[in-house]
């Protein structure tokens, strides 16, 4: 990190995602990345947008947590390039993102195991197995 860049992480409500992203789009911010961190029983999503030029070098990340099974709206209507990130997050983490324009139906990486990056709760009995 350096002094010339300003980075900020803002927590938002999941229902406000589309309106916040629309505001950034009107202000001509660029989509930098969409990040997902698997957690027990859900996931934490961070949408990062960047700008430069007269506003200075800035990156703003919108962050929220969803629990398993909650639907997240897709931002491909506003940023069409987001389809790659959203497909990957849905495939690897199992977050239910709906209405992606350009949907690969779960075949982005076509791995042997479904949602390999998802954190599953390990039940205490499974590792012991049997009676000692």
């Amino acid at each position: 990190m350096s002094d010339k860049e300003v980075q900020e992480i803002i927590e938002i409500e999941p229902s406000k995602l589309l309106s916040e992203v629309d505001q950034l789009r009107s202000a001509a911010w660029r989509l930098v990345q969409i990040l997902c961190i698997g957690q027990q029983g859900g996931a934490e999503l961070s949408y990062s947008f960047g700008t430069d030029g007269e506003r200075g070098l800035r990156m703003r990340s919108l962050r929220f947590t969803v629990s398993e099974g909650t639907n997240v709206p897709s931002i491909t209507a506003l940023y069409p390039a987001a389809f790659l990130y959203e497909n990957e997050i849905r495939d690897l983490f199992g977050v239910a993102i709906e209405r992606i324009a350009g949907d690969w139906m779960g075949k982005v990486y076509d791995v042997a195991k479904d949602t390999p990056f998802k954190k599953v709760t390990v039940s205490p009995m499974s590792s012991e197995g049997g009676i000692k």
Binding site: E5, V32, I37, D52, P80, G102, W104
Partner: protein, 375 residues
């Protein structure tokens, strides 16, 4: 697959035949790494392309939970062979951001030296592959032969030709002496002459211009909206270079970003070739100004709980690293958003309207590094 991005299908007008679909890749002589497209053609013109990735997904991001955070740099370096030093360095920068440590000055300058060396070798590699994409094999071999001298310099200073292995958390692991660095810069003089000769062929030769000018044009607004980064964005006229952040020693060297306005494949070629010359100028400044001192600091104990974003400029564009630590020796999450990942939508858009024979050229103009994309 259901739908494609932007939903652009050519209307079936007078033609009785509808559009035809031709697969491109994953094995193709021009592709350095496997990438698949379903090209939707109306006669010889592309009206849409559906990309498909996932042939070399290795799940490297999951491995960070199983390895010590100081050891993982050796795995991060091997995400990709061409941009390997910057992956290692980006990981180290993000971890050092979480730890809150400042590396010694000499380490920062040495990292800059190796970054620019990597940029030179990567662009020369790209020059060869782009020439091969439209059939100019002798330029391909000449560019790669020139690149061998750059790889010799890399081996002499860092020990490895493509995987430098010199970025570690806390600094760098090697300390080449001033005489070694000056001797290497002298050896690179012949490379500069070669690059001038090759750039004259690539940019001025009428047969090459016939293949590159006007092919795959992307306007400035479209390139920005689609999230393109790196030479793809700068060739369309938008000036954004992540080196302006001032990481490593970039705050103290002078350079101007290379911008072209035409937005076609020739402009992208020109941006990369001029970037090679710019990298040599930066290397000269680095070797002249590098201070003496230690090259690494010891890293001990558990990292604090925290997270960090780091953005670097790889040869292909802006790369974003994210590291989150939960207080143990294994990190919780490591994420790389590589430039090719961001450039794929722009590439698909650039293909629209081109003819089938131009598809390899357009694919190569984003400099695809699919190993990075899929980690």
């Amino acid at each position: 697959m259901s739908g494609e991005n932007q939903g652009a299908h050519a209307p079936v007008e007078e033609n009785i035949r509808g559009p035809s679909v031709i697969p491109f890749g994953p094995q193709h002589p021009v592709l350095p790494e496997p990438l698949h497209f379903d090209l939707i053609l109306q006669d010889e013109k592309i009206v849409g392309a559906v990309p498909q990735i996932g042939y070399i997904h290795r799940g490297l991001e999951l491995l960070v939970e199983k390895r010590d955070f100081t050891d993982y740099v050796h795995v991060a370096e091997r995400i990709c062979g061409i941009c390997s030093f910057m992956h290692g360095m980006g990981y180290c920068e993000a971890v050092e951001g979480v730890l809150g440590v400042e590396i010694p000055d000499r380490a920062k300058w040495l990292r800059t030296f190796w970054c620019e060396l990597e940029r030179v070798h990567s662009h020369l590699l790209w020059l060869g592959l782009a020439a091969d994409a439209f059939g100019f094999e002798s330029l391909f071999n000449a560019a790669w032969r020139t690149r061998e001298l750059v790889l010799d310099v890399a081996e002499e200073t860092s020990g490895g030709r493509v995987i430098f292995g010199s970025a570690i958390v806390g600094g760098v692991s090697r300390d080449p002496s001033k005489e070694t660095l000056e001797r290497c810069m002298k050896a690179l003089k012949s490379v500069r002459g070669d690059v001038a000769r090759l750039s004259h062929v690539m940019l001025e030769d009428p047969t090459v211009q016939h293949r590159l000018v006007g092919v795959g044009t992307l306007s400035k607004e479209r390139a920005y909206e689609l999230g393109a980064v790196g030479p793809m964005l700068r060739a369309s006229g938008y000036d954004y270079d992540a080196r302006k952040r001032g990481y490593a020693a970039y705050g103290e060297v002078e350079f101007k970003s290379v911008v072209e306005t035409a937005g076609d494949s020739m402009a992208r070629a020109a941006v990369r070739i001029r970037e090679i010359e710019q990298s040599f100028a930066i290397l000269d400044q680095v070797v002249a100004k590098i201070p003496e001192g230690p090259v690494s600091i010891p890293i001990k104990g558990m990292p604090p709980v925290g997270e960090c974003f780091a953005r670097l400029e790889q040869p292909r564009g802006e790369v974003v690293y994210y590291v989150r630590s939960n207080g143990t020796r294994n990190l919780e999450r490591f994420r790389v958003r590589t430039p090719t990942f961001a450039n794929i939508p722009a590439m698909v858009e650039a293909m629209r309207g081109a003819s089938l024979a131009d598809v390899p050229t357009i694919t190569l103009t984003i400099d695809p590094c699919i190993s990075c994309t899929e980690r």
